[in-house]
Amino acid sequence: MRALLTVFCKEFVENLRDRRTLFSALLFGPLFGPILFGAMVSRMLNQSVLESDEPLRVTVSGGEHAPNLVRFLTSQGVNLVFTSWSESDARAAVKRGSAAVVLIVPREFGPRFTAALPAPVFLVADSSDSQTRKSADRLRALVAAYGSGIAQLRSQIRGVSPLLAVPIAVNDIDVTTPTGRAVVVLGFMTYFVLFSVLMGGLYLAIDSTAGERERGSLEALLSLPVARSALVGGKLIATCAYMCLSLAINLAAFVVVFQFVPLERLGMSANVSVLTALEFFAICLPFVPLGAALMMLVASFTRSYREAQTYLTSVLLVPTLPIAFASIYSLKAHSALMLVPSLSQHLLMTSVLKDEPIAPLDLALSAASALGLAILLIAATARHWRRETMLG
């Protein structure tokens, strides 16, 4: 036990002096997520808020053939620019990007309209561009609204109730709460949290195993009258300590970042308070020894720092797999899923974000499965350290 503590203290202090460890464990790992995330989300939000506020700009060709439509659009606050482009001119302009959306009113619009036949208009836009696609959608909705107004008038004139043309009234009832809507946006925040947990211990896991072998200090260490399990234990706990530090910094950064992200402007409220951060910490805590043991086990089999780094980079991706599955199949928190580490943490954290109640059983299952797997991996690591091949 004393040896374990000695190993822990030495690894902790030694890595505190290592610039590479400090940078990755306490700076890049934990802060990368919140900063990138905050910047991305606020840009996304600003954009969509701006778009719905901004007046729609439309280039109209042949507007003189539909003066009433033009008047209607103007009254709806659409900025109209008049040209006399042919269809091919309009296509070229949209392709060039000099016009976003072009509405072409052909000559036959007037006669067909008067004859109460469907009067054609052409809407030229590039649907691969998400910006102009939105503008085109808005214009299409406006033209349709104008059309249905005309339809109502026509049926009234003919003594037919306009309601006959509306056999079904669809009413949307959206049950998403403001927080729920935000969850869609915040979905992958949980990955950044798990990523920071692993990043926190990455370099220590490498340095205390493959690094120890590469710099030649391992053999002297193994010749000491110390149980290998104490060596593994001390190194593992030091790794866990850095992972917890990284997680704490990460969560604190998220709390700060969310003070500045304008989620409320979209009618969303993100539930990221200090209390949320503490809940996240508790949920992720059992994942810490699991991640540490996994990284140590993998690094123990490698011969050099570089080799360990290569393999552990893929280990960093392991927690993404269940999360990716969860979003593809839109899995909901379910007791059976709590047995899958990283997925269970993701689901529980999502529940916290959504303000949903968490079953104590789910929490217990999530912790037990992560810790159970951690114990297996720790035992495997200790076993490997007892082997001669450990010398390399």
């Binding site: 000695t6 890595n15 030649g216 053999e219 002297a220 009258p225």
Partner: protein, 242 residues
């Protein structure tokens, strides 16, 4: 006292060490001499307990080395082939870390590290981080680290590798000093001169076997050679190990 009896080790199909037996006495320096690949490191590794022999045993002061926490390990100081240090720790911290792992009390570790630092001439760099140390400085720290628990036995695997002339002389002084304190010193080398100038006793290994063993002079005269080098070549030649 270090005793190897019938040590054998194979790696796959290669028999690295076959039935190696010898004894290194207290107050003597015993040199294990042999060409590259003769099984020197493997033999020493079995003696200091990081490799488990397939046959035979190694005892330190009569105690078997096997087992992670064998009492024999506490009586043994080890300088492995690659005596790496922790670059982010100072020389003193490197030495004290091993003291703590030996389970020594704090004050004892502190006093002993200071004593060794002085005795090995490390006063100039003992509180500097080990990152930029020269090979000579590294070896000194590694020797101090191996001696922190004041062991009566010391095993060194090619300690003079990569050292310059001054550093080698320095190390020789240190080893003679330790010998005069009555410790048992076992070291391996493939440099003839090293063994000739330093050792009381020599064990010549070739192809994993003991080809000659005894006091330096005895081995030389028994083989009818004028120098150790001649004796060495002769015995290897006879064994077909050249």
């Amino acid at each position: 006292m270090i005793e190897a009896s019938g040590l054998s080790k194979r790696f796959g199909t290669i028999e690295a060490v076959r039935e190696v037996s010898f004894r290194a006495a207290d107050g003597e320096i015993t040199g294990v001499l042999g060409p590259n690949g003769a099984g020197k490191s493997t033999t020493l590794r079995m003696i200091y307990g990081v490799l488990t022999p397939d046959g035979g045993s190694a005892c330190i002061d009569g105690i078997d080395i096997r087992g992670e926490t064998s009492a024999a390990r506490g009586r043994l100081g080890v300088l492995p082939h690659a005596p790496g240090l922790y670059g982010n720790l100072t020389a003193r911290e490197n030495i004290e870390y091993f003291g703590a792992l030996h389970g020594l009390p704090k004050e004892r570790i502190r006093a002993r590290a200071a004593e060794l630092g002085h005795a090995l001439g490390m006063d100039g760099f003992i509180d500097r981080r080990a990152k930029g140390f020269s090979q000579g400085q590294r070896i000194k720290v590694a020797v101090a680290r191996a001696l922190i628990h004041d062991p009566s036995n010391l095993v060194l695997d090619e300690p003079t590798n990569g050292l310059d002339v001054m550093a080698i002389r320095n190390l020789r002084e240190i080893l003679r000093d330790l010998k005069s304190q009555g410790r048992c010193i076992l070291f391996s080398s493939h440099v003839m001169q090293e063994v000739a100038t330093l050792c009381d006793r020599v064990v010549i290994l070739g192809q994993g076997r003991v080809l000659a063993d005894g006091p330096l002079e005895t081995v030389r005269t028994r083989l009818g050679a004028t120098t150790l080098e001649e004796a060495f070549l002769k015995v290897l030649g006879e064994a077909g190990a050249l």
